[in-house]
Symmetry: C2
Subunit: 330 residues, 2 copies
């Protein structure tokens, strides 16, 4: 272990220039005379200097750290989006602080406070901030806040997502057009899944269908719930012809259990998922699902952050939409 990390001063002394010049070279090489640049480069090499970004952040009041707050990562529908986001942000010189808020978002306020204390450049939320007090703090903090994966009617700052209600409505239309008559909903206990269910039910009934039956499952949803959900169907007064699942995992589990029970999907029972995980396209039968373009969300978030940093105008409400992916299961 070295005695002490070399500083800008050490490089400057060795290169025979001032610290200011080394700093300029690091941040904008073109502004320094090329001969000077060569000497500085050599000095950096010789000293093994590594720029201290934390000190730079303090000096510029710009940390280039973005906080991403998600409920969990073990098995999350957001993982694709978060991964794309980290990659996009990293490609632009940012680092991402990932904070876990828990399934019920219990830790949301705590993690928001931490992010604020760290003076991150922006906070990206996947969960919904329901406490009015926290929403207010966020607004008055003068920090960039991006709400993703939803389209709040009263956004805190920037929103990049889609309407969950619209997803439900679209699925209702889709299944009705395919001739299904008795849908059953498996609904995770989350605000957004609830919105999709509401959208579905409203539309379905509006179009003259009977009110769909439903059951709820805990979040995060998983494979095992799908199996249980299939078995729970037996308790229904009338059997559904299609099950609309809150996630592809639930759909997959339901299909496996149906097969094991000798029920053929989709001939005897159709199944729809949500999230369009890679597995949905690989499953047997392949799973009809709803695709959300996580990479697109990530790009739009980065674009908004850049525009704000540059002081350029940009849309603060970006609806990236969604697509129903029709496959074999429904």
């Amino acid at each position: 272990m070295a005695n002490r990390n070399p500083r800008l001063d050490d490089v400057a002394a060795m290169a025979g220039v001032s610290a200011a010049t080394v700093s300029r070279f690091l941040n904008n090489p073109a502004v320094v005379a090329s001969a000077t640049g060569v000497r500085i480069r050599e000095a950096i090499e010789a000293t093994g200097y590594v720029q201290n970004l934390a000190a730079g952040a303090l000096a510029t009041s710009r940390s280039r750290i973005i906080a991403a707050l998600v409920p969990d990562i073990a098995q999350s529908i957001f993982n694709d989006t978060v991964e794309a986001m980290i990659e996009e942000l990293a490609s632009d010189g940012n680092s991402v602080m990932l904070a876990l808020t828990g399934a019920d978002n219990r830790g949301l306020t705590r993690e928001i406070n931490m992010a604020l204390a760290r003076r991150v450049d922006a906070i990206i939320l996947t969960g919904i901030v329901s406490e009015p007090e926290t929403r207010q703090r966020l607004r008055s903090a003068g920090i960039t806040v991006v709400e993703t994966w939803g389209m709040p009617e009263d956004p805190i700052d920037i929103a990049v997502g889609f309407s969950h209600r619209a997803v439900g409505e679209e699925l209702a239309r889709f299944l009705r057009a395919r001739g299904y008559r008795r849908p059953h909903l498996v609904v995770p206990r989350s605000t957004r899944a609830e919105r999709r269910a509401t959208g579905f039910t409203t539309r379905w009934v509006h179009d003259g269908g009977p009110s769909p039956t439903r059951m709820e499952v805990n979040v995060p949803s998983h494979f095992g719930q799908g199996r249980l959900s299939f078995r729970a169907l037996a308790d229904l007064p009338e059997q559904p012809d299609v099950v609309v699942c809150g996630s592809d995992w639930i759909a997959q589990g339901l299909i496996v259990e149906a097969n094991a029970a000798g029920v053929r999907v989709p001939d005897q029972l159709a199944v729809v998922g949500f999230g369009n995980l890679r597995m949905a396209g690989d499953m047997r039968p392949t799973i009809t699902s709803v695709d959300v373009d996580g990479a697109r969300i990530a790009r739009e978030v980065l674009r908004a952050l850049r525009a704000r940093a540059a002081g350029e105008p940009f849309d603060t409400m970006i609806d990236v939409g969604f697509r129903v992916i029709a496959r074999e299961s429904a």
Copy 2:
């Protein structure tokens, strides 16, 4: 948006004390007279002061930021461990910078450099640093480095994990004891999966079995590969009686495809996974797998970091072991 964030000075002025006293109150309330503490608390309240941890980090040369470097998070065997790690670390006042290094760890050096520049307190690696130059830089950086999920023979600093070779050997013993005779290996193209395969093969042959057949799949491994792997079995000169999969996802896909082909698991073909995902216990049939205690790894990492911070002695090589979980599939 406020004009400017309040600083320690603002709080101090309002409370009628010096900035130093406010700082002490924030970091160790007990050291301040209680009457003073009350005034400071009121001033903090009134100004809406939020401690700037970034400035504090610069002053103390301790960032309380830990960098976690993982190949991906979309579908990673490390997710459980990383999640547990983030929770453990957060409970101790740290924040976690999550950096993605890519499936082949192409970005490892780049992200290590970024972490070094951010002056994180520690770097937690899940991938293997193969470049000797980077290993050397890490050693001489005087930073805490934790290698997890493996037991390197020449660790950079601290290692918390288990022997992948031992996993392979144990699986060979386990399957032999169960009477299987012709194993086939589906091996992800990663150093560790390769070590497990080597351990398995060595032990299997040593115990008098025929050399196992094998095929390779790309990382990150996924469900679809399992289906393809089952079909590829048809090309084998002799059919295996058990398939040892590099992950539970592969195992699951293989089972689904086998069922679809009318091959019963485990009667006609046994299957073993790796990782003991929650889904493994929920699948039909339930999947025999290898459990790695991610939460335990997380706890040991935190314990080591704390011991080092406190200057106390601790083990730098911690083998958390693993467990073969016998279920229905093999």
